[in-house]
């Protein structure tokens, strides 16, 4: 039963961060939430008995994609609107 509770919490956290990625007004914040989402996904893969995917998700999904997006967000400016000088 405790297992179900923990998994339920993880799923809830996954969905919450997913919504937060899309809903947050600040682009930088959205990217940070996206990285958090990737880490939670890695946990979910561990729960699905898929350690290989968990490793790949942590390294590629959260790590590299996150850095790529962070860097892009920095260049594009944190918010909608004009280009930074």
């Amino acid at each position: 039963m405790i297992e179900w509770f923990l998994d339920g919490m993880l799923v809830l956290a996954l969905l919450t961060t997913a919504v937060a990625v899309l809903a947050s007004r600040n682009l930088f914040r959205a990217v940070v939430m996206f990285i958090a989402f990737g880490l939670l996904m890695a946990l979910a893969w561990v729960r699905l008995q898929a350690p290989d995917i968990a490793l790949a998700e942590a390294a590629i999904g959260a790590g590299l994609t996150g850095v790529l997006l962070l860097d892009a967000a920095r260049h594009l400016g944190y918010s909608r609107g004009g280009r930074p000088e």
């Binding site: 990625v21 899309l22 996206f34 989402f37 995917i53 790949a56 999904g61 909608r80």
Partner: protein, 116 residues
């Protein structure tokens, strides 16, 4: 109902959330993140549904590994394109920048090599 199936349904919800973001958001980086959320949802459905009996199934797990690499390749390509597009046009959405200026007809056309 096993735990695996619970994650499959989480994947279903993620697909819905990601799709909404993908078609609703204009900012290209946000669109890209929505695409990645949706992709994660698809991967969860793939593995969760196949493992509904509780036993791990290496085949969908291998497919998801392939899928993750393909997704990161697509994401990286998109980021490169978006950054260059932003650099050239100052825009971060796909909205047309007003109507295109009216071009003069062929009267001023001049001779050009094979590269136009």
């Amino acid at each position: 109902m096993t735990i695996h199936l619970l994650y499959a349904f989480a994947g279903v919800a993620l697909c819905g959330i990601g799709l909404f973001g993908f078609i609703r958001l204009d900012h290209l980086l946000r669109k890209l993140m929505a695409f990645n959320l949706m992709g994660s949802g698809v991967f969860l459905v793939m593995v969760g549904l196949a493992q509904r009996g509780g036993q791990p199934d290496p085949v969908p797990q291998a497919l998801v590994l392939t899928g993750i690499v393909v997704a990161v390749a697509a994401t990286a390509l998109a980021v490169v394109l978006i950054r260059r597009y932003y650099h050239l046009s100052g825009q971060i959405t796909l909205a047309e920048p007003g109507r295109e200026p009216v071009k003069k007809p062929a009267a001023d056309a001049h001779r050009e090599g094979p590269t136009e």
